[in-house]
């Protein structure tokens, strides 16, 4: 399967050459090369496979309760998927907290379908051999917001609080290396780690990079990953302990990042290095 996929991707690259110059968005030549590659990959994005699987999982009765997720309320009413992703994180009265898309989907799998949270968050991230169902479902839900602007709700006091708390977490330096999120992602001036460009997620004009392209098909390892995974791996490299999957802490941090990107058009599930 993977081989067939990669062959398809290779074919797409060959078909798309020569590279349109307009696709290079970075001024940094090293980064610009990757932008070209990413643009070509997005023409035949393997994320579509996970989107299709996610749609099936959403609509088909499953779990111990043999229910579909079509009664899941992502904030726009039970079953409404279109536009829901770009309007999360948001406050949900039934849990009295702010939830990001994946946290909400996992919540629905537990409450509607009867899955056990302990099992869903035991190994929540994709590996070479397994893509967890919440990853595919999140990809499906995200794809139904492609082309729409990020517009997370900030009307409820807890949504405003989540933004402020997320901001504190973003700038909080600790861990073995004294790193904050901001140590890498709060810098101006087009800095890089190795060849990886580091847009400033605290500035509106560059903040979209934090949330754009997720969920993303990651070429390193060839697996589908969500923003929950990305933040987990950030904290690992920050030399922090591990964040709890779908926790309020992560939802707050995602609120900070998404609100900073509000008004930018979400392009849908993407391709990541």
């Amino acid at each position: 399967m993977r081989q067939a996929l990669m062959l398809g991707v290779a074919a797409a690259i060959a078909a798309a050459a020569p590279w349109p110059q307009a696709m290079a968005q970075s001024e940094d030549p090293v980064a610009a090369d990757f932008d070209k590659f990413r643009a070509i990959m997005e023409e035949a994005n393997p994320a579509e496979l996970f989107e299709a699987k996610g749609e099936q999982l959403w609509k088909t009765p499953g779990g111990p309760k043999k229910q579909s997720l079509e009664k899941c309320d992502l904030g726009l009413g039970p079953g409404v998927v279109k536009g829901a992703y770009v309007q999360m994180p948001r406050y949900f009265a039934d849990v009295d907290r702010v939830m990001d898309a994946e946290a909400r989907i996992v919540h629905c799998m537990v409450t509607l379908q009867g899955f056990e949270l302990d099992k869903l968050d035991d190994k929540p991230f994709s590996s070479a051999t397994k893509t967890p169902d919440p990853v595919s479902i999140t990809t499906y839900v995200a794809a139904q917001s492609a082309g729409m602007k990020f517009a997370p709700s900030q009307s409820h006091p807890k949504e405003k609080e989540a933004y402020e708390v997320g901001k504190e977490i973003f700038f909080y330096r600790a861990g073995a290396y004294d790193f904050a999120c901001a140590s890498c992602h709060g810098l101006d001036g087009g800095k890089r780690i190795r060849t990886q460009p580091l847009p400033n997620f605290a500035k509106p004009e560059t903040a979209a990079s934090a949330v754009m392209g997720w969920p993303g098909y990651r070429m390193t390892g060839g697996v589908m990953h969500t923003l929950q995974w990305r933040l987990n791996d950030c904290f690992r490299q920050q030399r922090f302990p591990e964040p709890d999957y779908t926790s309020e802490m992560l939802s707050n941090l995602i609120t900070y990042l998404t609100v900073n990107a509000q008004g930018q058009v979400y392009k849908g599930p993407g391709i990541k290095r």
Binding site: V165, A174, D178, R194, P241, P243, M249, N252
Partner: protein
């Protein structure tokens, strides 16, 4: 009477200050409580890593820009805690130093004490942020270029001591530097820091010779 008035004024001032402090610190207090609740320890990455020490507390409090007197005091404390090599030798093997500079692994929840998950010694990850040797183009730009480090600064003992101390604890010079305190937190061993000093300081190192 005057005393009472002063006391009342002071009292009111304290109330206002307390209210301001509460307003300013509410999101931070909530963030600290959530982090304490919503992280869990894995391997060598314990919950103690969420705690601030004197340095990170000051940098978090002052947005990485503490008042000069605060910075000066903390830098002196950090410098005083540097453990210098017992034999006084500051330079090791620049070839080994280059490998340490290239490797970035270590200290995450997947790693072991002093070793990476692959069983290698920890890396310094220097190229993640610095240009160093002439043969590596894939260097980061968060830190300054270190290419021709000693050629530009001189090969003397004082510069060697500076390089050793900076790698051991960058906060001894710039308290809110983004650079980790590699010696201070036992991420790098004494001999590894000596090898990195050689990478920067040895006249034969390509950092200086080319």
């Amino acid at each position: 009477m005057k005393k009472i008035a002063t006391a009342v004024t002071l009292g009111a001032g304290v109330v206002v200050l307390a209210a301001c402090a509460a307003m300013q610190s509410a999101p931070r207090d909530r963030a600290l409580a959530l982090m304490e609740r919503d992280f869990h320890p894995v391997g060598i990455a314990g919950m103690d890593r969420l705690k601030e020490d004197a340095v990170t507390a000051a940098c978090n409090k002052y947005n990485d820009n503490p008042p000069a007197d605060v910075a000066k005091k903390l830098q002196a404390q950090q410098y005083a805690a540097i453990k210098w090599p017992a034999d006084g030798k500051l330079m090791g093997d620049w070839k080994v130093g280059e490998k340490i500079a290239q490797r970035g692994r270590g200290m995450t929840w997947r790693d072991k004490p002093g070793k990476t998950s692959r069983g290698e010694d920890n890396g310094g990850g220097c190229y993640n942020c610095h240009q160093i040797g002439p043969d590596t183009d894939s260097f980061g730009t968060i830190g300054p270029s270190l290419y021709q480090f000693a050629k530009l600064r001189g090969y003397g003992a004082d510069i060697q001591r500076y390089a050793y101390a900076k790698i051991y604890n960058a906060k001894a010079y710039s308290v809110c530097s983004q650079m980790p305190r590699f010696g201070h937190v036992d991420a790098l061993e004494e001999d590894q820091i000596q090898d990195l000093v050689a990478l920067l300081m040895d006249p034969k190192s390509p950092v200086n010779s080319r």
